[in-house]
């Protein structure tokens, strides 16, 4: 497929996945803060940190604004100047869909367009003001419908593979960011001394990843931070775990390589393999605590490097005359 269009497919799914994750996080953080004792409340700023929006947020708002939950939530949902807010992600998702209309299905387009019309014409804003949980749920449902429709309505071929690739890589990075919220909210964990608040937050993270029920199936004993962290980071069967997402991204990349010119994908494949190996072999007992934050930061940075490498390999290949001469 056309290189540029492959890039649009990749990014379209990244943006939808990103918006969906942010909705999860915002909704769960609200209910988490309602459950914990006072003093811990108003811990909204970690969401700004893990979104990488510290600087911009500080530019746009007064110093103490990070404690204002309303403001943080509005920023991450509606701020058009932020490149990661829900509204920005949805705008770009639709824009990418608009430029790939000849590739995506009518159902996908209509779903995304409906979501956008809803968001941009005030209706959703009123829902946000009056019934916020429903607002996030609707958005999430719409995003999930869109992602599901791409599996249901497209040929199982290259364009869909690039969409999946974008979705898995974005999800891997988003789960890593979610895990990092814990670090920024309550500081480093200690396996031997876990407070009820800490445990509540670990549970909230499970919930954010739709992984509570799966976790109770996996770990029959009393829940604890260490096993939750290991589950969300390393369980290959969990579809939102960091490792699980990376493994699926790797398999998708392999499909793309075998059906095309394998050598084009050598670099991103090597980077992915490296990160997968590293996550697989880390012992949770040694990284739980301070170094889990470093581990997550590494996972996020490496995922970004993988995306950049995919971009060079497939989406923005420069002059291809050399390939022509070679064949």
């Amino acid at each position: 497929m056309i290189s540029r269009v492959a890039g649009c497919c990749f990014w379209m799914h990244r943006y939808v996945e990103r918006a969906e994750n942010l909705c999860r996080l915002l909704k769960v953080n609200r209910s988490f803060l309602l459950d914990v004792p006072e003093g811990v409340a108003d811990r909204w700023f970690p969401l700004i940190i893990v979104s990488g929006e510290q600087e911009r947020f500080a530019e746009l708002h007064p110093p103490a604004a990070g404690d204002d939950g309303e403001l943080v939530e509005a920023y991450l949902t509606w701020e058009e100047r932020s490149p990661v807010s829900v509204i920005t992600s949805m705008r770009w998702a639709r824009e990418n869909a608009r430029t790939t209309r000849e590739v995506i299905s009518l159902e996908m387009w209509e779903t995304l367009n409906d979501l956008w019309v809803d968001l941009s014409r005030g209706k959703a804003r009123r829902r946000y003001d009056t019934d916020r949980d429903t607002f996030y749920k609707r958005l999430r449902d719409g995003c999930d419908l869109f992602l599901g429709l791409s599996e249901q309505t497209l040929l199982d071929e290259e364009p869909l593979d690039f969409m999946r690739l974008g979705m898995w890589l974005e999800r891997a990075s988003q789960t890593a960011r979610m895990l990092d919220v814990k670090h920024h909210t309550l500081g480093p964990s200690r396996a031997d001394r876990e407070s009820p608040v800490e445990l509540a937050q670990w549970s909230a993270l499970l919930y954010s990843c739709s992984a509570s029920e799966a976790y109770y199936k996996r770990v029959p004993s009393k829940p604890d931070g260490r096993s939750i962290a290991a589950f969300l980071l390393q369980d290959p069967a969990l579809p939102r775990s960091v490792l699980g997402c990376l493994l699926r991204a790797r398999a998708t990349l392999e499909r793309i390589r075998t059906e095309g010119r394998p050598e084009l994908g050598d670099e991103p494949a090597a980077l992915l393999d490296g990160l997968i190996d590293r996550l697989r072999t880390r012992d949770i007992d040694t990284i739980f605590g301070q170094s889990i934050h470093d581990e997550l930061t590494n996972a996020i940075d490496t995922t970004a490097a993988i995306c950049a490498s995919i971009d060079r390999a497939y989406f923005d290949p420069g002059d291809q005359s050399a390939l022509l001469a070679a064949s």
């Binding site: 497929m1 056309i2 290189s3 409906d114 690039f162 793309i256 291809q320 022509l324």
Partner: protein, 552 residues
């Protein structure tokens, strides 16, 4: 509840087939009615309520064509539908104004939902707008259309021969009583001297094709004749609206389409694909070239690519190697043999035309000259649809085909001719004077609405550079009944039919009817308060009488 009785009554009279369709129509209405309240502003809602009082009122009950002799598309006079299309008009009439308004709202919702929009330039947030649409169709009789079709085919045939000649042998300039002067043609901004001697790729046994897609703008004279107002032979746009308008009309008037046989427009993308592919080898690859998604016509480019099953590419996706055109793909380069390009000549190849163009492909003109890629439309067509050449097209038809032009055109004075110039100068207040190299209303004098001083100043300009101007009498655009806030009223319309030419020529039945939605306005452009209508060409005059029976 609304519409129930009427629909089933119509269904009954038509038997089983009809009633099925009627239920269909009712279903559409019901599901849409929920949306009504929330999507519309309060004032419009109350407007709708007022109309509810006379819910049964026929659509055209109070309709009166404009006085003063301008042609109305549907009515010869108040209450007198034009005979050829009268049965169809009656079908519409019986729906009632209230019902038609309701279906207008359904249509508006459908356009928004499907995201059929155009971009408003100069808006940093990239606002998209819906092209306003009026559900009352413009209806053209079968026989009447036959003549238009033949006339368009003839005109495009002649213009193709003209272009081949201008860039080839130049017979036209050498002939005794030359129909147009070399100076006028070569002096036009669209003439590309670099194209001399280059034959567009295509089979050798047929005349080369320059005008693969033509949009010929027509207006209706007060006597009912269609006249050519303007030829668009470069990258005419708007055809996607014709197809989408029809889809939406079928959705909101399913019952009507079951009773009235309207010629289908749906074949356009296939016809275009077939036409373009007929000029290249069998296993060729076709792509549509767009300037990108910020272009106002991006929707159309994407639409055509989808419907033709072709790639949609941008300049940066393409490169030329060894005089062949390739697209960059995730699996390496892929050859393209046919390119339906929707960017202007001057942006197409920075090595030949504008060096600052980022939209084009370096080397593509050389690939074209070598016969390695079909470019549609051809390069250099601008000298055939130039305002300065337009007055001579009837003579070109006579010259190349030895036939009389089937379609008339608007009487035009070319100020380069001394006798014409003196006539123009003497009649400025009755004429529209246009600069040949300007468009969009610039460099223009609208005589009847000009001041004495404006005319005096313009006369000076004319005398200083007479070759740069043409003049025409004011064109009375025909009107068509249109839904307005105050009821159904006459609004001005024009018509752009589309003509596709590969190794043979095909005319899309109907075309884009643009309508000036503002009262009294002549401006049909979407950027200035214009909208569009579906254009119904009746399948045959028998179909009209079928409908008459069904109505009785």
């Amino acid at each position: 509840m609304r519409g129930d009785g009427r629909d089933s009554k119509q269904g009954d009279s038509k038997g089983a087939r009809g009633s099925g369709k009627a239920r269909d129509a009712h279903g559409t209405g019901k599901s849409g009615s929920k949306k009504r309240g929330s999507q519309r502003s309060g004032s419009e809602k109350s407007g709708a309520r007022n109309h509810e009082k006379n819910a049964k009122a026929p659509v055209f009950a109070g309709y009166e064509p404009l006085p003063g002799g301008c042609y109305d598309e549907l009515f010869a006079g108040a209450g007198k539908a034009r005979p050829a299309i009268a049965p169809v008009v009656r079908q519409l009439d019986q729906l009632g104004e209230h019902e038609v308004r309701f279906r207008q709202r359904l249509a508006d919702g459908a356009f928004l939902q499907s995201g059929i929009t155009f971009r408003v330039y100069g808006d940093p947030r990239g606002t998209e707008k819906i092209f306003p649409f009026d559900v009352i169709p413009r209806i053209v009789g079968a026989k009447e259309w036959d003549k238009v079709e033949k006339g368009l085919e003839q005109r495009v045939r002649a213009l193709n021969l003209f272009l081949a000649d201008v860039y080839g042998e130049e017979r036209v300039f050498k002939a005794k009583n030359a129909p147009v002067s070399e100076e006028i043609v070569k002096g036009s901004t669209g003439y590309l001297a670099k194209m001399r001697g280059i034959r567009p790729p295509g089979p050798k046994h047929v005349d080369p094709t320059y005008v693969h897609v033509a949009g010929i703008d027509l207006v209706r004279a007060p006597n009912g004749d269609f006249l050519v107002l303007e030829d668009n032979l470069r990258t005419p746009s708007g055809v996607s609206y014709v197809l989408e308008n029809r889809l939406v009309m079928k959705r909101v008037f399913p019952g009507l389409f079951a009773k009235v046989k309207v010629r289908s427009v749906d074949a356009y993308p296939q016809k275009l694909r077939d036409g373009l592919m007929s000029l290249a080898g069998e296993d060729s690859t076709l792509a549509v070239l767009t300037p990108g998604h910020y272009n106002s016509a991006y929707f159309e480019h994407s639409f055509l690519a989808r419907r033709m099953g072709s790639m949609l590419v941008q300049g940066s996706d393409l490169f030329v190697h060894d005089d062949r055109l390739y697209v960059k793909t995730t699996k390496g380069p892929r050859r393209i043999e046919v390119l339906y390009r929707r960017i202007d000549d001057e942006f197409l190849d920075p090595t030949v035309f504008r060096p600052d163009s980022l939209l084009g492909v370096p080397g593509i003109v050389q690939a074209y000259a070598k016969g390695n890629v079909v470019l549609a439309n051809g390069l250099g067509n601008g000298c055939a649809d130039d305002k300065g050449v337009y007055p001579f097209v009837p003579d070109l038809i006579r010259f190349y085909l030895g036939e009389e032009p089937i379609l008339g055109q608007v009487e035009t004075y070319h100020c380069s001719r001394p006798d014409h110039l003196s006539h123009v100068l003497a009649n400025l207040e009755h004429l529209v004077v246009k600069a040949v190299d300007a468009s969009g209303g610039y460099g223009m004098l609208f005589g009847p609405r000009s001041t004495k001083k404006e005319r005096k100043d313009f006369a000076e300009q004319l005398k200083a550079a007479p070759r740069g101007y043409i003049a025409q009498p004011v064109v009375e655009l025909s009107t068509c009944p249109t839904l307005t806030k105050k009821g159904v009223a006459p609004r001005r319309v024009d018509l752009r039919p589309y003509v596709v030419t590969g190794t043979s020529t095909w005319v899309l039945p109907g075309g884009l009817s643009r309508v000036a939605l503002k009262e009294g306005s002549y401006v049909v452009n979407s950027s200035q308060g214009g909208g569009s209508k579906d254009t119904w060409v009746l399948a045959s005059d028998d179909a009209a009488s079928d409908a008459r029976e069904a109505a009785e």
